[in-house]
Symmetry: C2
């Protein structure tokens, strides 16, 4: 996995924005289809297009899914994807960010190449 760290950076970057965190929080903490895009925009205090663009970022990494209902669009969190990313983050912290457990004998380390 050559670009694993690159993918992780992309995911973390998508989450590294206040508005986008709030979008996830709003969608997660309410029943499905409680708020459409315009509702969310209002809660964020930004325009509807700006909101759509933030949603697009989260959709691109698979965290959000589109559910069209007539001329409205509701977004839901793909919990599986989010859980997968959480696992990746766990592993990143555990394996890449933690002191070497192989006494710096990199040839013995199974993670040597994964996070380069």
């Amino acid at each position: 996995m050559k670009d694993h760290i690159k993918n992780m950076a992309e995911v973390l970057k998508s989450l590294g924005d206040e508005k986008r965190l709030k979008i996830i929080k709003i969608l997660a903490s309410n029943i499905d289809e409680a708020f459409c895009v315009s509702d969310i925009a209002q809660q964020l205090g930004i325009s509807q297009p700006a909101t759509s663009q933030h949603i697009k970022v989260l959709k691109n990494v698979g965290i959000l899914e589109e559910n069209r209902r007539g001329f409205r669009v509701f977004y839901t969190i793909n919990s599986d994807v989010l859980a997968e990313y959480k696992k990746d983050i766990d592993e990143l912290f555990k394996k890449a960010f933690q002191r070497c457990q192989y006494n710096f004998s990199c040839d013995k380390c199974p993670y040597n190449n994964k996070y380069q």
Copy 2:
């Protein structure tokens, strides 16, 4: 905690960059003071000033600590801070990103305000 989500966004943003993830990875997976700033720059394939600037971002959120040795500077990971952030991320995923466990009775939810 009014800006908790804002702080989380800042931390995630600091981690949401390939070069910065690599800096952490390099520092974590080698013995202390193995590589100075210029060494890291070379490994990243960017200039020394660019590297210093990335380091500054990580230092600003407390993840890195400066250790001057003569005219060289070595950076080490503040594991406590990093562990703290990991806990925050865990909590973020568990509490803010997970379906409401209070049946959407927000007045009963202890996290109602924390992630707004």
